[in-house]
Structures are given as C-alpha cells and as structure tokens.
C-alpha cells in the first residue's frame, strides 16, 4: 500500500530528496589514487568476540584433555562401575576422601612453607601451624585407612 500523499511544492519536493552513498570501497580507491593506504577500521566488537572464543576454546580443550586423562587413568574403575552401579556410592566416598587427603597435604605443605618463611622473617610462630596441619593430615589418613565394610561386602 502506498503511503498518504502530502502537498508539496516543487521546491520542497526537491529539497527533500535524499543523499545517496557511494559503495564501501569508495574512500579506499580515492585515497589509493592520492597515494595513501587506508588501514581497515579496528572492529572492537569483532576483536572481543574472537578473543573470548579463543579463550573459551582453550579452556574447553583443557577440560576435554583432563577429562580424557581421568577416563584413561581410571578406566578400570569406570568399567567396574558399569558392571556394578551400586558400588558408585562407595567409590564416590573413596574419591572424596582421596581429594580431601590431597587437599590436606597441600594445606600442610603451604602451612609449612608459610611457617618457614615466617620463621626466618621472625614474625609468626611456626608451631601452631605445624600442629594444625599435622592434625588435619592425621585425621584424613585415619579416615582413609579405616577399612570399609561395605566395599568388602561388595567385593566378596
């Protein structure tokens, strides 16, 4: 449908004519003829998108790599779980404790490192830190070392 017509004089009709734009390479051709090279405008949005995509791809690749490594490292456990799904809970408990132990060891090492640094810096008493980390490690070792009756029953 055509829009509603307005009364226009010749002058107004001509004055209202739009300006057209030449093609996108217009400037480049003129500037080249004058001996200048136009650098393409830096597209901030595109650069940001590319950066985010690359970072996300790196993280994804790293995560996939770790996942595959874990799968291969624990392939036997995974196969066991597939055959006996009821052992999943026990296995999760086992790995949770393993992680806790590893975490405790890390904390212990860090505490020791801090203690040593502080000792030589002369500002912090090393003994409380040693005591805490030792207690944590002892608890974790005790828990993990205690035989699990459920696992034994499942393995029997």
């Amino acid at each position: 449908m055509k829009p509603t017509r307005e009364n226009l004089t010749l002058k107004e009709a001509l004055a209202s004519l739009p300006y057209y734009s030449p093609g996108p390479k217009f400037n480049a051709k003129v500037m080249k003829a004058l001996g200048f090279e136009i650098q393409p405008a830096f597209n901030c949005t595109l650069a940001l998108e590319k950066t985010v995509t690359i970072i996300a791809a790196c993280w994804l690749a790293g995560a996939c790599f770790l996942l595959i490594r874990l799968l291969f490292a624990h392939a036997a456990d995974i196969l066991f779980l597939c055959l006996k799904p009821q052992a999943l809970l026990s296995m999760l408990k086992f790995y949770a404790l393993k992680s806790w132990l590893a975490g405790s060891r890390i904390i212990s090492v860090l505490s020791k490192a801090v203690g040593i640094i502080s000792f030589f810096a002369g500002k912090v008493n090393i003994l409380p830190h040693l005591a805490v980390s030792s207690i944590l490690a002892a608890i974790a070792i005790t828990i993990v070392s205690r035989p699990s009756t459920r696992i034994r029953a499942d393995n029997q």
Binding site: K2, P3, R5, E6, N7, L8, T9, L10, K11, A13, L14, A15, S16, L17, P18, Y19, Y20, S21, P22, G23, F26, N27, K29, V30, M31, A33, L34, F36, I38
Partner: protein, 183 residues
C-alpha cells in the same frame, strides 16, 4: 560548511591523510548524489565522483579559499559529468525534451504557483526525465540551496543564462506533472 572545511584543507595541504579522508566523508554523499542524478547510472556515477575528488584533492593548491569549498567541488563534478556525457552520451547534453509540448505555447504555467502533490519517487522520476542541463540547475538551487551567483560560478555561465535555465526547468517539470495528472 566552508568555515569548517578550511582548517581541514590546510591540514590536507600539509599532507595529513586523516584530513583527506575527513574531507572526503563530509562531501562524498552530496557530490555522488548530484552526479548520480545527472548520469543516472550508479557505477558511472561512482567512477565520476571518485575522479572529482581525486582532481579536487590533488589540485587543492589551486583552490581559492574565498569561495566555498563545496562550490568548487560542484564545479569539478559538473565539468567531469559534461566531459563524460560529451564522450559517451552526447544526446543527453541537449536541452530539448521531445516528450513535452513547447513551453512557449503555455503562457499560464510559468506564472502560476501550482500546488503539487509529489512523493519522493515521483520527484526522482521527473528529474530523470529532464535533460541533465535542466536537472542540474534545479538540484543546485533547490536541493543544495545555492544562490544564483554560485550556480553561475559552478556552471561557468552568466547569471542570466542560469536564470533562464531555471525558469525553463521549472516550467518543464510543471508541464510534465500536468501530463501525468491528466493521464
């Protein structure tokens, strides 16, 4: 416009490429539209517009700063178009329009102020139907809002000749509108 173009022109004369590009961006749509409405072919119009700016920016040393820069650009654009039409389509340089009755037979149309109902598309079609030498004076006066004196400088014609062309162009376009309405 002329006051803001002069600092850019000085920078251009100092070979500042940014100034060249800014001058180009300020004026390219006006010049391209003017040429396009005369030549009626977008590819040719773009080539001619590029030639216009290349000639203008290369010849900036010869630009007289007492004149508005856009006037100088339009003069170069006009000459470029005339050279093109003379070489490729010499029939377009004729001011005779075979599709319209002789203006002299209609004494009333030149004096009346006619209320015209025009849309943009109709205006473009009417301009296209006129000989380029008439459409350019209409564009320069009504679209670019230039005074007769500057139009005369651009077209390198006496002011009297410009006035006559404007008079005939307006009469011609009004006649064409009447023909359209009477169909």
């Amino acid at each position: 416009m002329e006051n803001t173009d002069h600092p850019l022109i000085h920078r251009c004369l100092a070979n500042d490429s940014g100034a060249f590009e800014e001058l180009l961006n300020r004026n390219k749509n006006q010049i391209f539209s003017f040429i396009f409405r005369l030549i009626r072919n977008p590819e040719d119009a773009e080539d001619l517009a590029q030639d216009t700016f290349i000639k203008a920016l290369r010849g900036l040393n010869s630009y007289d700063t007492s004149r508005p820069f856009i006037t100088w650009l339009f003069a170069i654009a006009h000459n470029t178009c005339v050279d093109f039409l003379r070489a490729k389509k010499p029939q377009m340089l004729s001011i005779d329009d075979e599709n319209t009755p002789d203006i002299a037979d209609s004494p009333d149309s030149t004096r009346k102020t006619v209320e015209l109902k025009l849309q943009q598309e109709e205006t473009e079609e009417l301009l296209t139907s006129l000989p380029p030498l008439y459409s350019e004076v209409l564009l320069l006066q009504f679209r670019e809002d230039l005074p007769i004196q500057q139009i005369a400088e651009i077209l390198q014609l006496p002011e009297g000749t410009v006035k006559i062309r404007l008079f005939r162009a307006k009469a011609l376009i009004r006649k064409k509108i009447e023909l359209l309405k009477n169909r």
